[in-house]
Structure formats: structure tokens, C-alpha cells
Symmetry: C2
Subunit: 651 residues, 2 copies
């Protein structure tokens, strides 16, 4: 038996063939299900039609069944009358016949009387008394759906290996098929490992994290039609790893352990897998991230040892685990959906390694552009944005900006046509939700400054921004100029009332002096947010007024360095008593039942890429702003719209 | 209350707004689910992070935690030693500190000791005794993931209205979120109506059909995340319709009646809906098919009255019912997925009507081409092929071949890159299943001649064909020439042994003379199939030999006009005793345990569009044929491969 393959790393495309060289990836078994419950599953045998379809010769229109040769030569100006000898409604099973010179009224779907061979639509006829006048002739077979003309009894109507769609299910039902045999779902055992793991709901000590990969693997497996089950996490102790592993092997077809594969041969999971029979068949793939993947066999059962870093785990699930699950369920070996995209920044390859770079996709100049996600693979907040992975092939050292790469798409991720990246705003959110294209729009809330940068780099179509330039007192425009953003226009938004928000029992707060002197716990906003600029501006004014140093005030303000990224978070933390006071828009104060003291109106505008002005969702958003302007009312407390709302300012 | 709208037909785009003018399409309610079970559903409230993430400052690599200023100025040729004072493994919660000149060994994910501010990867160090030598300096923060740097406690991590994906579920789990509040599924009651309907499993009288639309609506609703329930069909009797309708209204949020809407105001469903309160709000849409759609309200509940013809039902489900269900579940109003495609035949519009033409999609010359499906909308066998509907706008009288139209895609339909249309063959089927691109290939079995025509029209990339020209004794090529097919090559396939197949107790059958004289019931193949040509050819030879007229022999052959479309069907009907003898390939005789008498070898070849030779699935299929040729063995009984197998013949 080949046992030594895993001593060296294997290529990405070798993983599945190596597994197959030990164990063909063929369906595991068959279950019989009612047709409508089998949708999504794969047929385990050919389905033969138990009847001819249509099961009787029927009329395709409302009209009169005739013998076509009775109406030869009939035209509008040369009509002919036939004797009406009866009527057949849909669902009637009585057998009716007609003779020469006769006709029978039929509804759509009714039995065509023998030996009528055509139906004249009612609009070409006139019925009076016991006679019908016909104003046109009719061809043999016209408007008649002959018994068995669509499907013959005994015909194969669905082939083994076909995945059942809603329309195929309907076809089978039409033919009277009640149940079908399909391949059974794969049972997947998920075994998280690592001393640091806790389950959501358990308390967390410093040094521990909640297990998130199990949830991800579970969700993907479920969407792929498998039956996943998460086992309690195994601590880093060989006996415990083996105990859970063998329980999972007993109860499942495939097991995915998570974590603990990067530490090499002394690794516990690795040791546990080595003791299986035949054991480890590959360990290490020439890819990044996801290199530490190991695969082992135990009899017919397959164990995937997935890396624990979320991004690596996500990638290996998509590249290897899901394809194996699908094939064991009889789904044809389909490659992951891919598309080509132009990369927005240069990317570096690694010799002999296939590098997968997580990207956000956006439409630019009619083409797909891929924007690499910033930050390291441990960041959970970015994972939701991964539209796919740009692939840098093994032989490519460097891919310059603008080159086209293949992107492996993240399955079950929604595709978006418009990205709005910037500062969170409830009114913008409700405008987006109201347009017909809402489903094509992704809103990512990262703050004003990051939004402007996203427009500059091209990943964002729109940035919502409310940045005050303290020098000029002007909003937004100075920042756009300072960042050197071209190819964008400013769409004027609205004013938002900002002020102190505080729990009502803390009492009205109207200045930072009061906050500092009252010893209140403040919650600040992140640098780069418009609100943070306002806070710093107010503190500096306060300092100037008092003749002290602003830095000193900031030092004395409790919680100045305790930062959150949204208005919502400020209000939430204040309402929960984690902090006493913060600065936020009036809207959230209302929502959380907090006190509000007006400080300033800030201008919330949209920076829009020029080319994005052509997208219909963007047009609708601007139109919605203009509609608010016409009405003169934003419909939400704390917002002020004006005549400028919705106007476009060239920069 | 606006009640009269339905007196005139409404436009396609008015249907949802009219419903919304009576009843906003907002979520129906909220349920709390474990995160991993909520995937696919929409969040009913913002989710705030209950903790900072990462929840502790951790190492991003295996290495040594240091104070970065202890290693200032260190290079490979100017190393520095620090005292090793401990080791922290991942998952340890013990708090360790370090002093000046000290370092601590840490694993990836371990707590970084206080106040270390960087981690040097193990590959730049050398440990010996109680000391570690460092060969490079390190920047403050390098390889350290600071507590709270990704997500701050109290931050909104998932916004109300977001659909939960696997990656978002994982993010929430990482933050310790166990359950989320999501919008509840819509309960959909499905009420089939019509005297002609029977449920699969019930016996069928002449004039009755099995209900298939309920299965289709059920399957789509299920895939959209709703909770559908099919009610027993209501016969055409007002009391019965009303009884089932009201039961369905009591138990569901939305009801879909099917059938019985085309007959105008005297229609029973219409009458039942008119008696609801406020009753019918629209009846009739300026579209085709699907015109008879009606929508009624009963309090807050919505009733869709869907047309009963399968294609019309499919279209109205996708255009109206699914969007309403999704919006009631909080999914942003997303338009049906659409794409533009070039139409392969001219299409005619209708003044003032939006016409939807069911199409198959295929890639041609790097663009999407749409091929209208033949036949009328009552054909159930075509429904599975509907990739979407080409849209002819109200103002377009005529769309010439080659013009670009919008295609509304059939949701949950798989996208294919290669269409193989033609004669069914088990060896071809198994070759397709074996290639990595199998999932991109759709195989439609319609017979040789229809396959050739599909290549000619462009919808097929490949046609499997075995047509004998009786004049020349040559296979396939004469037919291709006669049809005037250009831009295609013939890829030589293999020979298949054909012969009489019969139940063993019927005894060996070796000529049509025996079949006729024995009074056996024959099962024939469809005109256009290669086997039918062989059957007719043999009957004519037999007639010549006997000096009688071939027509007479055909008359005397029992079941000459009883036709099925596949080898499988012939063998199945013979094995089930519906017929006694047929002509088919040896493979199916083996499969069904039937007797086989060799008649002739026929040549099964592939006609391939020249441009399709560039597609990787097509390349692989040809390569697989060549591999069989090299091996000299097809691996399936009844097949003969030769040196010509896999060779390309220009025509």
C-alpha cells in the first residue's frame, strides 16, 4: 500500500486524486424519498415513466373540437356551420364521439372527442342555437396535444446521476412518480481541537477563544446537503483527541478535525491520525494559506485535518472538503465556481506554492475587479467580506496591478453589484432598503476615512462620509482633496444632529467640562470617523477656552482611549451602563431611549465614483435623496434635508 | 379602498407595487435560532459583539515574544542573545510577564506575555540552554494580534437585515454569540384546483392528469426557505374551493391556488377570491404566458391564483410568488438573476404584452446564446431544460436572430458550459462522468437526428449520433452533409453491437420473420433514431428477400408503431413484459438480463462544433476516447473501440 506520499508536500490539484487512489469518491448509499423532498439530491437510478404523457388527447385551447377535413376551404368570408353535439369540460372522463359535420365544445385541457383531430379556438367561431359557425379552417393536429406525444410509457425521464431540480420534480409528479431513490447525505463529524477553545455560551478566560470554525464547517456542510454534527472540542491530550476522533469515526462517513495541524510530526492530531488504518495519506499542500492540511483514512472513512486559522480553514473547506462531500453524494465533480478578475493591487507569488488571496469583488469599467482584503488571516471581522480567493499560480512570481487572475468564488456568498463602504447611517440604510436593487447593494460600515480610501482604491462605489475639517469648518470636500481622489463626485446628503448621548439617570450633559468634572465614563469613536474629529475639535476648543493643553484634557477624560466604530455601539454601551456618556447622532439616542444634548449638525454626504453613477442602484439612491429634498422631510428624527440634498458637486 | 384596479390588466412591474399599496411586504415575525441553524435567514436585529476580539493579545506565529527595543540594531551578522524565561502554549491562561533582556517561547495563538510587544518567528532564532540568539530585529507590534484590535466589545458586528452566510455565522460564533433573532419563514399553503387533477399514487382515468404544479411550487418555496404545505386538490365546486381555501388561509401567511384562473369572471377560484375581504386586487397581467394571474387579499393574508399550465405556473412563481415570499422573510427585494444573451432564432413580440420565451442557454463565441425551447407550454418533458426566459419587451415587435435580449434566469437551475444533445449512450455517459468538468456538462437524450439539428442550430456543443445511410451503408457523415451542417467536425467514436433483445423465456429471436410469425409484440424506436433506421432497413431487406412489400411487413409486425426514444426504454418494456422483443444495444440487454442476438455493429460518433473544441470539457472527452483507443478496450460489453476512436474528421 502506498504510504509514503505524505513525506513531501503535494500540489493543490493532487489532493483529490490521491484520495481517489485509495478510495473512489462514489456515492455512499441510497435512500427513497418523496419526489418533493428529494430536490437537490442526486438520482441513484433511472426513472422510467409509468405512463404516456399527456395521458389522454387533450385540447390546448378553449374552442370546438372538429374533424379538420370538415373545415377544408373555410375562410372568414366563406364560413361554415357544424352541428354542436356536446360539451366536454376539463376533468370529465366520459368518452364522447363526433361524426361528420359535427363539433363538440371543449375547454383547455379537456378530452378531445374521438375521432376529432383539431380544435378551433373560440375566437374564430360563433355559436347560435345548436350550431357553430367557423370562420377559419384548421390543420390536422392543431391545438391538440395527443396522448403520449410528450413522453412514452417506459421512457427514461430522469437519468441516474441527475440532480433533482424543482422543474424535474414537477415533471416526475406529472408522470405519477411518487418517490425516487437518491444518494444519501454524507454524515460529517466535526471535531474541533485545542486547549484554547471554548463553545459560545461558556465563560472565556484570558488566553481562550470561542470555536468559530466548527460553525463555519457545519454551515457549509449543511448547505451542501450533508448531515453535519459538531463534537465537543478535544483538548491537547492524545487520549482525548483519539477518544473523540474514534467516536466521530464510528458515527460518520467523513470526519473533519480542526486545528493542531501546523506543529509538525509531534502534533497530537497528527499522531492520532497516524494510528488509523491505513492512516495518513497526505500531509501538507503546496498552497498558502492552508498548507498544513492532512488527510487520513480509516477503512473506508476519510478524515480531513483542517487548519485552525479561520481563513485557512475556509479555503481548505472549499477546495477539498466540500468537493469530497458532494462527490460522495453523487454530485458530478464540479469545480468550484470561478471567474476571472482584474486585480486592483500588485500581488506577489511564491515559487512552487499556489497562493490564494482573499478578495472583495466589484464591477469596474464593465469588468470584475478583485480587491485584496487587508489584514492577516486571523481577523474574523473580514471573513464575511470574502467574495473569493484570487489565485496566484505556482509559476507566477509577481502579478502587477491590472493583471487578470482567476478567482475561486466563495460558495453561498451573495454577488453584489454595488459596494457602499464608509460611515454607518440609518437613513442611508433605509434608503438602500427601499430601492428595487437593494439586493445588489452591499453596505460595509468601516467609518468615513476608510470609506474615502475605498472609493480611491476602487473597491467602493459610494462612501458615506461626515468628516469635519477643523481648519476650514468645511465637511468632506477637504478630505477628498487631501487624499487626491479623482474620478469621483460628491453627492450632497443631509445634516445629522449630533450631540451628547447619556442615560437619563446620569442627567443632562452639555459639555466635556461636565463629563470630566462629573467623572463620567466616556466612550469614544475610532480615529478616522467624523464624530472623532468633532470630539477632538470640541476638546481642543474647551482646552483653548480654559487655557489648558488639549492633551491634558484628553488624559483626564475617562475612556478617551476606549473606542468603538459606530453610533450604534456608542448608544448600546451607554444604554447597557458600560459607559455613561458618548457623542452620537440623535437617531440612536431615540432608539436606545437615551438623553440627547445637541452639539452640532454634521454633514453626511456621499462620495460616488463617476463610473458608478451609471449603475441603476446608484441612480435610484440619488433619486431617493432628491425626493427627500422635494418633500423637505427626511422622515427620521434628527435629520435635516435641504434644497442641496441629492445635488452633485464636481470636485 | 381601491378595489377596481383589476378591471384592466396590469403591467409586469406593477404587480408587486400594487400588492404593496395594500399591504407592505415586510417581515412577518421573529424567531430565535442557534447561529448555525440560522444560516440563510435574515437578522431581525443588530448583533452587538459581547467581547473584544481577539479576546487576548496573541502571537500570530510560533517564535519568541520580546520587547522590541531589546532587539534594536540586530542583524544576521550582529545577533543578540536574550534570556529564555518561560514558554506559553496556546490555550494556557496563566499570566506570564517578561523583563528587560528576557524572552518567552510562544506558539501561534498563545497569549503574548506582558509587556512584550512583538514576536520573532522561530526561523530567525537559535535556542541553546537558557538563551535564545536572535538574528533580526523586530518592529513594535510585529506578529502580535492585540486584544480588541479586530472587534470592540459593543460594536455592531452584524446589521439587522443581513442574510446569514456561513462566514458571518462563524464570525458570530468567534464572538461568543450563541443564538440570533431572525425573521421567521413564510407559511405557504398550496391549493391545487381542478376536476382533472389526481395525486401521484392515485389511479388515473382517461381525461385526468397528475398534479405537478404543487410539487414545483412546493420545491421552489422550500428552497427559498419558506414552509410550504400542499392541500388536497379542490374539485370545481364553489363550496369545495372555498372550504380548502379558507383552511389554507387559516393555517398560512400566503396561499397559492393553482389552476382555474383563465376562464374569466365565471371561474370558481375567481368567485371564491372575490368573496374574501378586501378580495381581488388584481386580475390579469400584460404578459405571456402567465396572463391569468390573480392576486387577492384576506385581511393581511395574500392569495396568489396561479395559472395551471406548467410553464405559466413556473414563470409566475418566479416573477411574483418567490419575490413576495423572500420579502416577507426580510430578504432585500432582489430582482431575479438576469443576464443578457444573444437569441439564436428571431422572436416575435406582442404589442403591449411582455413576452417571456423559455430558453436553453449555451456559450457561443465567448457569449451567452439563448435557444428558444420548441413545443407548447403543456410539455412537461421540456420544463427541466428551462435555463430561463428571454424577455421581449412590450414595445418590441420583432427581435431578429442575433439580437441581444435580457434573460430572466430560472432560479436553482444549474449553469452548464457544454450541452451534449443526441442519442443516449451509456459509454459516453460514463466518459462524461469521469472527467473533472462533468458538472459543467448537460447531457440531453433526444435521439441522433434531433442531436444533429441541435449542433446545426448551435444549442449543442456535441451530438452523439448513430445514423445509418441505407443508400451508402455509411454512418453519420451523409446525414451531416444532407443537413448542411458547417462549422462542425466528426469525432470518431466506437462501434456498438446491436441486436434483438428479448426475454429469455420468449426464446432466441434472430429475424423479423420470426418476430412476425411468432406473433411477438415488438417495441419500436422513434423515427430519427439510428436504431429505427436499422429496423426499417432490416424490414426492407426482409421484404425484398421474400418478394413482398415492406409496408405489408410493417403492417403485420405487432407494435411497429409503438415507439420509444431510448435503448433503455426498449429493454425496460421488454423486461417488464409490456413487449416481447425489440432492437437495442447489447449493453442494455446485459443490464436487464435479456437475451441478445447480434444483428449489426453500428457506429456511434460525436459531431462536435468546431468552436467547442476549445472548451476544456470537450477536450477531455476526446482525450478519453483516445485513451480507450490506446487501451484497445472500451471496458463495457458490447462496445468495440479501434485505432480510429478519438480521431477528428473534417467534413
Amino acid at each position: 500500500m502506498q504510504r509514503k506520499i505524505y513525506r513531501s508536500l503535494v500540489g493543490v490539484d493532487e489532493v483529490l486524486p490521491i484520495i481517489e487512489s485509495y478510495r473512489p469518491l462514489v456515492p455512499l448509499g441510497v435512500v427513497e424519498l418523496p419526489v418533493s423532498e428529494a430536490v437537490g439530491r442526486v438520482l441513484a437510478e433511472n426513472v422510467f415513466s409509468p405512463l404516456n404523457y399527456p395521458p389522454y388527447t387533450r385540447a390546448l385551447v378553449d374552442g370546438y373540437a372538429v374533424r379538420s377535413d370538415d373545415l377544408v376551404g373555410v375562410y372568414e368570408d366563406r364560413p361554415r356551420k357544424l352541428r354542436l353535439v356536446g360539451k366536454v369540460s376539463t376533468g370529465e372522463t366520459r368518452l364522447v364521439t363526433i361524426g361528420r359535420g359535427e363539433c363538440v365544445e371543449v375547454s383547455t385541457g379537456a378530452v378531445v372527442p374521438y375521432p376529432a383531430d383539431a380544435v378551433v379556438p373560440v375566437e374564430y367561431t360563433h355559436q347560435e342555437g345548436g350550431e357553430v359557425t367557423f370562420y377559419r379552417s384548421v390543420a390536422r393536429g392543431e391545438n391538440v396535444d395527443a396522448a403520449g406525444s410528450d413522453v412514452a410509457e417506459g421512457e427514461v425521464v430522469a437519468w441516474k446521476g441527475t440532480q433533482l431540480t424543482p422543474t424535474l420534480a414537477a415533471t416526475l409528479a406529472a408522470l405519477g412518480v411518487r418517490t425516487v431513490k437518491v444518494y444519501r447525505p454524507v454524515r460529517l463529524g466535526i471535531v474541533p481541537t485545542g486547549n484554547e477553545l471554548r463553545q459560545p455560551g461558556e465563560p472565556l478566560e484570558y488566553g481562550q477563544v470561542y470555536d468559530s470554525n466548527s460553525t463555519m464547517v457545519y454551515a457549509y456542510a449543511k448547505l451542501a446537503g450533508a448531515e453535519p454534527k459538531v463534537y465537543p472540542r478535544a483538548r491537547d491530550e492524545l487520549g482525548e483527541v483519539e477518544e473523540v476522533l474514534h467516536r466521530a469515526l464510528d458515527e460518520n462517513d467523513v470526519v473533519a478535525t480542526i486545528g493542531g495541524t501546523s506543529a509538525g510530526p509531534e502534533d497530537l492530531v497528527y499522531r492520532a491520525l497516524s494510528r488509523l488504518d491505513p492512516g495518513i495519506i497526505l500531509h501538507g499542500v503546496r498552497e498558502k494559506p492552508g498548507r498544513p492540511l492532512a488527510v487520513a483514512l480509516h477503512g473506508e472513512k476519510i478524515v480531513f485535518s483542517l487548519p485552525g486559522f479561520p481563513m485557512s480553514c475556509l479555503l481548505t473547506v472549499n477546495l477539498y472538503l466540500l468537493p469530497v462531500i458532494l462527490r460522495l453524494q453523487g454530485v458530478s465533480p464540479q469545480q468550484l465556481p470561478r471567474r476571472r478578475a482584474v486585480i486592483a493591487t500588485p500581488l506577489r507569488g511564491e515559487a512552487g506554492i499556489r497562493v490564494f488571496v482573499p478578495v472583495i469583488l466589484a464591477e469596474r469599467g464593465g469588468r470584475q475587479a478583485a480587491f485584496p482584503l487587508p489584514g492577516h488571516s486571523g481577523r474574523v471581522s473580514l471573513m464575511v467580506l470574502v467574495d473569493g480567493f484570487a489565485v496566484i499560480p505556482e509559476n507566477l512570481e509577481y502579478a502587477p496591478e491590472g493583471s487578470e487572475l482567476e478567482v475561486v468564488l466563495n460558495p453561498f456568498q451573495r454577488a453584489y453589484r454595488v459596494n457602499i463602504i464608509g460611515s454607518h447611517d440609518p437613513l442611508l440604510q433605509s434608503i438602500v432598503a427601499s430601492i428595487p436593487e437593494a439586493g445588489e447593494v452591499r453596505v460595509v460600515n468601516v467609518g468615513s476615512l476608510a470609506g474615502l480610501q475605498a472609493v480611491k482604491s476602487g473597491v467602493a462605489d459610494i462612501a458615506g462620509t461626515h468628516l469635519l475639517d477643523p481648519e476650514t469648518g468645511e465637511y468632506n470636500v477637504p478630505y477628498v482633496k487631501r487624499l487626491g481622489i479623482r474620478d469621483a463626485v460628491l453627492v450632497k446628503g443631509y445634516k445629522r444632529e449630533q450631540g451628547f448621548v447619556y442615560r437619563k439617570e446620569v442627567g443632562p450633559v452639555s459639555s466635556f467640562a461636565e463629563v470630566i468634572e462629573g467623572g463620567y465614563r466616556f466612550v469614544n469613536r475610532n480615529p478616522g470617523s467624523g464624530t472623532r474629529v468633532l470630539v477632538d475639535h470640541l476638546l481642543e476648543e474647551e482646552a483653548r477656552g480654559k487655557g489648558v493643553d488639549a492633551a491634558e484634557l484628553k488624559e483626564r477624560l475617562k475612556g478617551y482611549s476606549f473606542e468603538v466604530k459606530t453610533h450604534e455601539a456608542v448608544a448600546y454601551l451607554v444604554s447597557r451602563g458600560v459607559a455613561d456618556v458618548g457623542v452620537a447622532v440623535r437617531y440612536v439616542a431615540e432608539r436606545y431611549g437615551l438623553g440627547f444634548t445637541y452639539l452640532a449638525s454634521e454633514e453626511y454626504d456621499l462620495l460616488v465614483r463617476k463610473e458608478s453613477l451609471e449603475k441603476s442602484a446608484v441612480k435610484r439612491i440619488i433619486e431617493a435623496l432628491r425626493e427627500l429634498s422635494r418633500r423637505g422631510d427626511a422622515g427620521l428624527k434628527g435629520y435635516i434635508v435641504g434644497p442641496e440634498t441629492g445635488s452633485i458637486i464636481e470636485l
